[in-house]
């Protein structure tokens, strides 16, 4: 931590931080091994020339999803701090502190409002870089808050799921977020509002087994790992190597668990299309497409 971090409140830090974007100018494409210039990567919404969808945080996600990249973030509700006084080799409170410094976020989730294809919408985005996006009380409360905001604004809720699962450091209180978030979805249902899930890499555990699988519509990003049990646990259980592509977005599509696998660069448009129908507004006027990524010199 430097002196600036110590002095500035988290909100101010967020302005200074550029943590949603890679710190290096050149980023290695995990799929092809190719080096990609960061500006090109940003222009292609962090999809590499080989089609690999890099993990992105809430700010980028909001910018890519809402019309003209315009949105307003909503503060996530405060939750009790470390009620179990949990520690493994490190105190839970210290892990939280580190994650906050690293991401500039209060917890593994962000909420924002804006328009998608002209339709006022609420989006909730999990941040995998904050303790693996894990679902604890903060994520649960934020999800409920997002649903309440959507109901209040008569807007659809879009959830971008990404999580290793529940936050073990909160014990059964994190487990309780499964029914709690399910209740939030019931609120949307009662209000007749759409709830759309976008499954991103990776979405596993209690998150998949609750709000990530209860959408009216499920989209998934290409190549995203999506499942209940993690692949390592399954391999240990069945003592077999898992088949190629197992638990990937395309596999889930084939097995009937997601409606479509959608390239990130087409996602906003896809959301606008389906929301326009579910919200019975007129067909969306096509917003200006983002420029196609320029070919990278090899």
């Amino acid at each position: 931590m430097n002196w600036l971090d110590k002095l500035t409140p988290p909100g101010v830090k967020k302005i200074f931080s550029k943590r949603d974007t890679p710190e290096n100018l050149w980023v290695k494409d995990p799929k092809s091994g190719e080096m990609v210039f960061h500006k090109d990567l940003e222009n292609s919404l962090h999809v590499t020339p080989s089609g690999h969808h890099m993990r992105i945080g809430p700010v980028s996600r909001f910018a890519y999803t809402f019309d003209h990249g315009r949105f307003e973030e909503i503060e996530i509700p405060a939750v009790p701090k470390d009620p179990l006084r949990f520690r493994d080799d490190k105190k839970y409170t210290d892990r939280i502190k580190d994650a906050r410094n690293k991401t500039g976020r209060e917890d593994a989730i962000g909420i924002a409002v804006g328009k998608i294809g002209g339709i006022k919408s609420v989006a909730v985005v999990q941040d995998f870089s904050f303790m693996g996006g894990s679902m604890g009380m903060a994520v649960g409360e934020a999800f409920i808050k997002a649903a309440e905001e959507a109901v209040e604004r008569e807007a659809p809720l879009i959830c971008f799921a990404a999580a290793g699962g529940a936050r073990m450091q909160e014990g059964a209180l994190s487990l309780m977020q499964m029914p709690r978030t399910t209740l939030a979805i019931q609120m949307l249902k009662e209000a007749g509002l759409p709830y759309v899930v976008v499954l991103t890499d990776p979405t596993t555990g209690g998150v998949t087994a609750s709000y990530a699988m209860l959408g009216d519509v499920h989209f998934a990003e290409p190549g995203a790992l999506i499942g209940f049990a993690g692949p390592r646990v399954i391999e240990q259980t069945i003592r077999e190597k898992l088949p190629e592509g197992f638990q990937r977005a395309e596999y889930l599509h084939e097995k009937g668990m997601v409606d479509a696998v959608v390239d990130r660069r087409e996602l906003a448009e896809k959301l606008a299309d389906v929301l326009s129908v579910l919200m019975k507004t007129k067909p969306p006027s096509r917003r200006k497409r983002l420029p196609a990524p320029e070919p990278v010199n090899s």
Binding site: V79, P80, P83, L84, F86, R87, D88, D89, M137, G140, E141, I144, A166, R167, M168, Q169, E170, G171, A172, L173, S174, L175, M176, M178, P179, R180, T182, L183, I185, Q186, G205, G206, T208, A209, S210, Y211, A212, M213, L214, G227, F228, A229, V233, I234, T237, I238, E240, L242, F246, Q247, K255, G256, M257
Partner: protein, 326 residues
């Protein structure tokens, strides 16, 4: 009378030794019952019995979370089959999810419970090698949860309260289970509990393991047997992820607050059902009766509520969790 087939847990060794001693003396006294030392032997047996009882009481009054985990998994602990056959009359087992198959890790059906029609659902772990394999050690696949949803639909349709018994290490982490949508099946089952327009009472009887448990436990009233555990991940799983060492399960059990007392303090559960001295496995019929009475009380207190009131109570119950902690 001590049972030679009884399974002792590692921390019960002093009790096991005393009980073995008692048994030895008893059989010796039985073979040469006459003679002067008969009285001494009887005294000695009585003294040892008291000592064993005292030891048992002391041990069970101070079980650590890890010891409770072991008790919760005790092979002789009453399982769904025992509760069902002793508490439910005119039971009709209902099987299958009507779309893929039958999963014997979750059982269910209709029956009568002290003059009340009920629909019961629960995990079954099995008692011996053959039945354990049959029930997949109580680890359900998607079909189990989809069957649960189907049975809850039935309960709603005919306005019958739902009683669930939770005892699972977790949902089965297998290839086929994933292929057929394990996560979605669990999510739908939890959702169905929460939308029920009839009363639902859950008893956690052994292990309440993660999503596989909550799928049958999003009820109006959640009860827990004294030495059962309820957690987001098994102590072993938590230890291997956070400590990178399964052997730290003891520490993980401690840290995660998985005991009935801890969970009552956190308002995750509503009430604790006391177990007989030395745990449910020492006096199964006693605990089964206590569980029956506790369910009866819980159902009685939920009677005469409208469907909306029941849903509202459930919603408030779960939304409140965590909000009044500091």
């Amino acid at each position: 009378m001590s049972d030679p087939t009884r399974t002792y847990l590692d921390f019960e060794r002093p009790i096991a030794e005393l009980e073995a001693k008692i048994e030895e003396l008893e059989s010796a006294a039985g073979s040469n019952g006459d003679g002067d030392d008969g009285v001494d032997v009887a005294d000695e047996i009585k003294r040892l019995r008291e000592k064993a009882a005292d030891q048992l009481r002391k041990t069970y009054a101070n079980l650590t979370p890890w010891q409770k985990t072991q008790v919760a998994r005790h092979p002789d602990r009453p399982h769904f089959h025992d509760f069902r056959s002793n508490l439910i009359e005119a039971f009709t087992e209902l099987s299958g999810d009507r779309s893929f198959g039958e999963d014997p890790a979750i059982l269910g059906g209709t029956g009568w419970m002290t003059k009340r029609p009920v629909l019961v659902i629960g995990h079954e772990k099995g008692r011996d090698t053959q039945t354990r394999l049959h029930h997949n050690f109580g680890m359900a696949r998607p079909e189990g949860y989809r069957k649960a949803v189907r049975l809850m639909d039935l309960a709603e349709k005919f306005q019958i309260p739902v009683v669930s018994f939770v005892d699972t290490a977790g949902a089965y982490p297998g290839l086929g289970a994933e292929e057929r949508g394990q996560a979605e099946a669990i999510a739908r089952s939890t959702e169905r509990c929460l939308t029920l327009g009839v009363p639902m009472v859950t008893v956690i009887t052994g292990e309440g393991g993660s999503g596989g448990a909550i799928a049958l436990a999003a009820a109006n009233t959640v009860l827990m047997m004294e030495h059962s555990i309820y957690s987001v991940i098994s102590p072993e799983g938590c230890a291997s992820i956070l400590w990178r060492d399964q052997a730290k399960a003891k520490d993980a059990a401690e840290a995660m607050k998985i005991t009935a007392n801890d969970l009552q303090d956190l308002h995750v559960i509503d009430d604790i059902i006391q177990e007989p001295m030395g745990g449910a496995h020492r006096a199964p019929s006693e605990i089964i009766q206590s569980v029956g009475k506790a369910i009866d009380r819980a159902l009685a207190s939920l009677e005469n509520r409208s469907a909306d009131e029941l849903r509202e109570q459930r919603r408030e119950r779960f939304l409140r969790i965590g909000r009044e902690l500091s």
